[in-house]
Symmetry: C2
Subunit: 535 residues, 2 copies
């Protein structure tokens, strides 16, 4: 998209302080590119309001509880200002932004508490459990599924537990290639600390500029380089979880046959079992060589087959993605550069590592891509994608300003079901938004592949109707229904939060849900840990 | 070791009916090779007794319960004969064999029940839950950690739930490369069914001739080709679990961000949460090319560094293992073939797949091995290991006959702790057995590698003293203590069963244990599912 000028090396991206309800570095001005501006049509009305003008209402946490929290962390680390509360309200889904733009801060926490370490977190949880105050863990605050907006009913208040003082790289075991990190580190800050010592996590989700390490773990994040470095849940060697009943520490070895893998019970628990405070993660030497390229395939199906072959028989690039015809056309300044009669579908491949190994892997993968019908486009489309990879989310705010709704959703399924799923989700979204008088453009890409299947990521762009929140809610429900009807998972990497809860319960079934609730009741008997999220 | 004549292709190994207390194909006669015979010294006394002469005592299950079970599966599938009960008693640890040889059948189940399908299993569990009868799932019966010997106290009897009628390859999704298998299939039978259609699981643990698919899943088995095909828990796409409260079905997609990974909660649950009846597993095309080779390293440390480099920077062979000096010397008919002044340490590498890819991977791995100080020994040591890979366990019975105790144990840790762990476990075993007057030979190998660490597998050989069961128990306790003191996991692939239970509870801590017990209480409120195993 845009932004080639700034992200030549994503590990060098500065840690930014986002300001709700806008995404990213507040100092950065994003103009709509021509293709996006065309979508906006003639709308010029400014639909945003300044967050300063949104007020969260009175703080409800009892004074005695506040005093107890202050006794734990110090008075200066318990903040009840309107600004702090607004900046911890909800996440970054488009409905979240629309609500904030409409002045609705109903989900604002009552207090923001900043612990210094793990023991503080345990004590805060105990104070809140005793007082029936709900606790929302906060590292980057970039949830797009309502993960920061717990159910308040029955609670004496809501505390946002902001972990950002837990920001240390504690240790690197260079022999085993494991870094111990505190959970409040932002992804970009973690990379900066690791890079000083020659290491990288290789985890670059599109939320990279804002999201935190603890959030990655709690939501099973997947980064754009997942083919090479794995999903975040695959990088985790160990976790420390603070609960109202004390500490759970999991991960004694890379793999083990010692019972269920408890790391995989805590990963994805989204604050419902407590607060992840520390993480041991696999690290990799900073890559010496990077090579990104573009390929053209005649159709999405042809491209998907090529990706499947790489995922099943190798070798896998570090980054591999396939855009459908619509996304390919929208994202290219000049779609004709792909050649052919129709636009076709763009595949981006990226390889990182030692030069020799990169070239060996690239040559072998290229053979497969050629054999699968791909046409090499050279480095330009690959580099263009790489350097602009975090620019996409910056477009949403000006589009919303211009009366254009843009939102994403994603799912994952097996290769044999992929095309049917894509068709049914696309139809569900298109039909619903068309019926409400706001016909959308629906784009789709694959950006995470496995031997048995792949993710599908949809980007939806539609003009505002009378009530964009309701219009999107209807489309999203239809998409969820289509996903569940196809037997696919309700989320590949956005997680459950509050927005996917019903679909999630359908996905796992009543007995498994009951088992997870029993786990929660064990570690959080008062139910104060992010209530209504996940469970 | 021995057996080059029969295992040229392990997927062609016939399904055998083992007869406790001896391992493997009853029709196969194994002579002790010279090296092993030397260990036996002059002992010639036959310490074995015929299983026919072991009687399990009266069956305790109430007649009404038996009638209910017969109503579920048919009278012919509820068996209370002495022979059937003995053949479902305990597993294949050396203490298990010694107890059986001593005529001790105290752990025999009261009845053996053979369900036809998943629904039968649910109904059996419900009958047993209502009657407070303990249920032990049985697929291959090869546990070496007491996984088939539940605590009887407080139960009206013990039923062995033998799943071997659930022996179908249900379906292969060839696009997604997923096979749906019933849990009672033996590993060798599953391979035979898959091979007819051009596929393989690639899972070849040393228990391959006896173990079943359900057992692999319940215990997180790891096969000798784990570097190439992954551990069994990594192959699992989905699971069906029968519990006294109904069915849990997990796995909707390759990977997902939909909450905790419930597959990883059921994998390793060892029957404590119910009975795994169906499994969806990743499959691979039958490899067209196989290439096995041997390498010599001057020391275990040098060899381990080479393996670490392959695990961290690639490429990984399909099979990679490193024997220490003692194991290398014992396993070679002619240790001098390794050259050098001392025996050195043997590394075996194996590559499977398409010819071109195999050669590419072998060349790249060989470069690393040479650079790490390895000397290529050619195909002979590799092929010798490959063709004899399942012969080792056949040696144990004649050794026991000759008064020589042989047993194995294993653990897993991070690379940075590996050598200290190996030294402390070796010392713990050696010191304990020496103190009891039965000084052992302790061998060690690495056979499973990860980017962050590796397994250590110990084989212990010692002369019988006055009470070999007690002598080994003391050594095993000392080894467990050393493993836990080093912070390593109590098991890499043998699982917990009853034998590792205390160490396991120490490993995961009290709160995690409580959470797992809450899961069990949800799906198995009467506690009849393999009681005392794992939890």
């Amino acid at each position: 998209m845009t932004g080639n000028e700034r992200t030549a090396d994503e590990t060098a991206i500065p840690v930014v302080e986002m300001r709700r309800p806008r995404w990213g570095d507040p100092g950065r001005v994003t103009e709509l590119p021509a293709a996006a501006a065309a979508l906006a049509g003639d709308a010029t009305e400014d639909r945003g309001i300044a967050p300063e003008s949104v007020t969260p209402g009175d703080s409800r946490v009892p004074a005695a509880v506040r005093a107890d929290l202050e006794a734990v962390v110090g008075a200066e680390h318990v903040v009840g200002s309107d600004d702090a509360r607004i900046q911890h309200t909800r996440g970054y889904s488009t409905p979240d932004l629309l609500r904030m733009r409409a002045g609705d801060a109903a989900d604002a926490p009552d207090l923001v508490v900043h612990p210094a370490d793990h023991d503080d977190v345990v004590r805060i949880l105990q104070v809140c459990a005793a007082a029936k105050v709900a606790v929302v863990p906060f590292t980057g605050g970039t949830s797009v599924v309502g993960g920061l907006a717990p159910d308040r009913a029955g609670f004496a208040g809501v505390v946002s537990l902001d972990l950002r003082r837990l920001d240390r790289l504690v240790e690197i075991d260079e022999i085993s290639r494991i870094a111990t990190l505190q959970a409040g580190l932002r992804g970009s800050a973690a990379e900066a600390l690791l890079r000083e010592r020659g290491w990288t996590l290789g985890h670059f989700p599109q939320s990279y500029e804002g999201a935190g390490i603890g959030g990655y773990a709690a939501t099973r994040s997947a980064g754009q380089s997942s083919a090479g470095y794995g999903r975040f849940d695959e990088m985790v060697e160990g976790l420390v979880l603070a609960t109202p009943r004390g500490t759970v520490q999991v991960g004694t070895a890379p793999r083990s046959a010692a019972g269920p893998d408890l790391r995989q019970l805590i990963l994805g628990s989204e604050g419902a079992f407590g607060v992840i405070t520390g993480i041991r993660l696999r690290v990799h030497p900073t890559p010496k060589t990077r090579l990104f390229e573009g390929w053209r395939f005649a159709s999405f199906a042809d491209g998907a087959t090529a990706l499947r072959r790489l995922a099943q028989d190798g070798p896998l690039p570090t980054v591999i993605r396939l855009s459908d015809e619509v996304e390919t056309a929208i994202n290219l300044a000049d779609p004709a550069q792909l050649g052919g009669e129709s636009t076709g579908c763009l595949v981006v491949t990226g390889y990182e590592g030692e030069e020799r190994e990169v070239l060996r892997r690239r040559d072998a993968a290229s053979e497969v891509l050629v054999d699968a019908g791909g046409t090499a486009l050279g480095a330009d489309p690959g580099e263009s994608w790489r350097t602009g990879r975090f620019a996409g989310p910056y477009l949403r705010d000006p589009l919303l300003d211009a009366g254009v709704l843009v939102e994403t959703l994603e799912t994952v399924t097996y290769w044999s079901k992929l095309h049917e799923l894509r068709a049914s989700v696309t139809a569900a979204i298109t039909d619903t938004l068309t019926a409400s008088g706001t016909p959308p453009l629906v784009m789709c890409h694959i950006s995470h592949v496995y031997s048995s299947g792949a993710s599908l990521y949809f980007t939806v762009v539609a003009p505002f109707g009378a009530d964009p929140i309701a219009e999107w809610a209807a489309a999203k429900t239809a998409a969820n229904d289509a996903i569940r009807a196809a037997g696919a998972s309700i989320t590949h990497h956005h997680a459950i939060g509050r927005d996917h809860r019903d679909a999630y319960h359908d996905e796992i079934g009543p007995l498994a849900l009951e088992a997870l609730r029993a786990v929660k009741a064990t570690v959080d008997p008062d139910g104060v840990c992010n209530p209504g999220i996940l469970l």
